[in-house]
């Protein structure tokens, strides 16, 4: 159980140490409100991310009368994935796999270019924690008020504030979980059904589970997710090197820190030891201790320190984004490199190359993919059939796929057996000819049993190719290799 009460912190100052526990109890973090350019960037990114998450399911995209008109829809029941003008069928799921690989390499790319920017700005855990911490400040007041409230006994004020805070927490969590399910069904219908009690039970259980996890991760776990649970910071710490942008406290400029130099002592550095950088940190670390795992590089301490530097009439950037290499250079008195220059180093370019290659590959495949498809499965029992007049008949289960939102006229033909004729199960044998023409319904797979008839003299095994061709203006054709069996040739 996580204790939000600062009284629960192990008191390091006590001389007689308590027996060492197996894990460190959480130190509650009450980050202080701060303003500055990075805070404003964080607001913008948060607003953008939340807007994308909540608005996307409501966007409409007209696809004609046969397909849903939701712009982004993961239709599990019908096994379709819609994203604006793109429609993915299950067998094309490699597009989604490709997107996931791009997302993974994209993370590497971002880490290589700008350090842990994903952690600091765009990670859902960061965005939602930021949101919850803002709720704390909105209801309980800023850092000091939160401290006071945590310590104070359970009186009317505390109960009221806690109740309202948890109500807001719950509302945020519920809308987080609630918006999730809208990606999996028609949003307006599901929204209505959900509150009318008519939605599927899986909708309610999904919302319940996601509400609970959001509440748990946003209200209780917060920075502990980044420090203890998430593997990404560990991977990143292996990826960061002396060329990576990290939030750096320029100790050669700041130290020795202090408010006022003791008479006769050496002059103090720029750090006035106001502690504001620690107070604003959402993960509760002290950046002046150097680069550390807990730093998600949200840069709020840069905003805080710059404010103080401006107030005390010192140059900005005592805490700033810098690479370790650059820090060394600056320490030696050389001028710092511009941030824009730091981003472009060989590793970034390699990641960018790989990322773009996959992206272009996917786009190429998307542009050239067929919207029709055919699959043929031969009957193996019996492998062939002799008819009354001695002709040889093979039967095939042919699946005609029309992946477009309109019915299409298609033609199936066959190569590889001289004189072969074919007919579909719902046609009389007398109508057999060299090809079958059917209208395949919109956005569907039409399973049709097809019979192929070869002249009586046909013997042995034949390799055959079925070709499905769309007969409308858009055209397109696909083939499928199969075999045709006939009796062994008599010697």
């Amino acid at each position: 159980m996580v204790n939000l009460d600062p009284k629960g912190q192990p008191n390091a100052g006590q001389p007689k140490a308590a027996p060492q526990g197996l894990h460190e109890a959480r130190k509650a973090v009450f980050p202080r409100q701060i303003d500055g350019k990075f805070r404003r960037l964080k607001w913008a990114i948060m607003a953008f991310c939340l807007a994308v998450y909540y608005i996307t399911p409501w966007l409409r995209w007209h696809r004609g009368p046969y397909s849903p008109d939701q712009a982004v829809l993961i239709d599990l029941a019908h096994r379709r994935f819609y994203m604006f003008s793109i429609e993915i069928w299950p067998q094309e799921f490699y597009f989604v796999a490709g997107l996931l690989i791009m997302a993974g390499i994209g993370l590497f790319l971002i880490t290589s270019a700008v350090g842990r920017a994903w952690c600091g700005y765009a990670c859902p855990q960061t965005v939602w924690t930021d949101l919850f911490q803002h709720v704390d400040r909105w209801i309980d007041g800023d850092r000091n008020a939160q401290f006071r409230l945590a310590k104070q006994p359970w009186n009317v004020e505390k109960i009221t504030k806690r109740l309202s805070k948890w109500t807001v927490y719950l509302l945020i969590s519920f809308s987080t979980g609630g918006a999730w399910i809208l990606y999996f069904a028609d949003a307006p219908t599901l929204f209505g059904d959900f509150f009318a009690g008519k939605a599927a039970s899986i909708a309610y259980s999904t919302v319940f589970v996601l509400t609970c996890t959001t509440l748990w991760l946003g209200a209780f776990m917060r920075e502990q997710v980044c420090i203890y649970m998430c593997p990404w910071p560990r991977v990143q710490s292996a990826m960061l090197d002396e060329k990576s942008l990290i939030v750096t406290y320029k100790d050669w400029r700041g130290e020795p820190r202090g408010k006022k130099a003791a008479p006769g002592a050496a002059p103090l550095g720029d750090c006035v030891d106001c502690g504001l950088c620690t107070a604003v940190c959402p993960t509760g670390i002290d950046i002046r201790e150097g680069p550390q795992l807990g730093c998600i590089t949200c840069a709020l301490c840069i905003d805080a320190c710059d404010q103080v530097m401006v107030k005390t009439g010192r140059p900005r950037g005592l805490i700033d984004y810098a690479t370790l290499e650059d820090a060394e250079r600056e320490k030696a008195g050389q001028p710092a490199t511009a941030h824009a220059k730091l981003i472009w180093h060989p590793r970034t370019l390699v990641y960018l190359g790989v990322w773009s290659a996959i992206g272009l590959g996917l786009l190429f495949m998307l542009g050239t993919r067929q919207h029709i498809s055919v699959a043929v499965s031969k009957d193996r029992n019996p492998p062939y059939m002799l008819l009354s007049a001695g002709e040889v008949r093979n039967a095939y289960a042919v699946r005609w796929k029309n992946m477009e939102g309109r019915p299409r006229k298609m033609e199936l033909s066959l190569d590889g057996v001289p004189g072969a004729k074919m007919w579909a199960e719902d046609m009389p044998m007398a109508s057999a000819s060299g090809k079958i023409i059917r209208i395949v319904p919109a956005d569907s797979t039409d399973p049709v049993r097809v019979y192929v008839l070869a002249p009586p003299t046909t013997t042995g095994e034949h390799k055959v190719t079925f070709t499905l061709r769309a007969l409308d203006a858009d055209g397109g054709s696909v083939s499928y290799a199969a075999r045709f069996d006939a009796p062994e040739a008599q010697p």
Partner: protein, 315 residues
């Protein structure tokens, strides 16, 4: 018990006993563990009360709700049957002629027929319905008694040569050789003739003689052009399909001793819906004839044909 004290290095209370200077620390199990354990005990007792669990000399305890795994199976089977019942009712309510028009119901009927076929028909007709010697292949377009839906349905319902079923498919080929109706030489001649019809052997003097024998003895059922007759379940002798084999020995055996294959009348054994589904399935195997019953050439009335065959066959 009185020597409880706090152990200095660990800060934990001891149990208060000592053997040769060895003491035990009191580190109780965590509360959540204990409560889980107690809950498990309560669950186990409740389980023994609710479910059959205690063995007895004759039978075990029954549990308060009388649950049995056999009963649960019966319940699940009943539920599955109820699920299917909607489809079965729909098939029962649709006439055989109207069924093919309802594509969805038709597909379900074919699947149901396929399952019933595997259970009831496979022993004779084979799992792919391809038959074997003496057992007709149901995939081809050669039908003894008719290949339309209604024909197949009638065959299924009443069987072939089933005593006790008035509507059964009934016919008998005489054992021409065994009963002395034809001398062995005449049998050999007619075998030559019949085999020459489908090109199995070239026309010869024997087949010429056989033609006359055929005209005198066989046309009544097999027709003047030897294309068979469905009224009697008489096979087409001019095609490539030979139910009892096409070698000289096979055909001689057939002419000498005759064959009369039988098939059970499923009407008394299976429910009407299953028979309907079986008919649809067999019809769907590729040889099924049009749903509206066509006029098959093979079922041409015998008299005119017999006459022409006779003139044809006179030497």
């Amino acid at each position: 018990m009185a020597n409880k004290r706090i152990d200095e290095p660990t800060g934990t209370e001891t149990m208060g006993h000592e053997w040769d200077g060895i003491e035990e620390l009191n580190t109780p199990l965590p509360g959540w563990w204990l409560w889980t354990f107690y809950a498990c005990i309560i669950f186990a007792i409740a389980y023994c009360v609710v479910y059959p669990s205690w063995p007895g000399m004759k039978e075990g305890s029954h549990g308060v709700f009388g649950w049995t795994s056999r009963g649960q199976l019966a319940q699940e089977m009943a539920a599955a049957k109820a699920d299917r019942q909607v489809t079965l009712d729909a098939i029962a309510a649709t006439s055989l002629e109207d069924l093919p028009a309802n594509k969805d119901l038709m597909a379900k009927a074919v699947e149901g027929g396929k399952a019933a076929f595997k259970v009831n028909c496979v022993p004779c007709h084979g799992s792919g319905a391809a038959g074997s010697k003496g057992y007709p292949n149901l995939n081809d377009n050669d039908w003894l008694w008719g290949g339309s839906l209604t024909d197949i349905h009638t065959t299924l319902l009443h069987g072939i040569r089933q005593p006790g079923d008035a509507a059964t498919r009934m016919s008998a080929m005489p054992a021409f050789g065994r009963d002395g109706m034809l001398q062995p030489a005449a049998v050999a001649d007619v075998v030559s003739y019949v085999r020459s019809l489908s090109g199995l052997e070239p026309a010869s003097a024997a087949s010429q003689r056989g033609n006359a024998v055929f005209a005198a003895n066989c046309v009544a059922c097999h027709g003047p052009d030897a294309k068979g007759g469905r009224m009697f379940g008489a096979p087409n002798l001019a095609d490539k399909i030979w139910l009892y084999g096409s070698t000289r020995e096979d055909v001689t055996e057939t002419v000498t001793n005759a064959h009369a294959g039988v098939m059970p009348a499923w009407g008394g054994r299976l429910d009407p819906v299953t028979i309907k589904m079986l008919a649809v399935y067999v019809h769907s195997l590729g040889g099924g004839e049009k749903f509206a019953q066509p006029a098959p050439a093979g079922a041409a009335p015998a008299p005119a044909g017999a006459a022409s065959g006779a003139t044809n066959g006179q030497p």
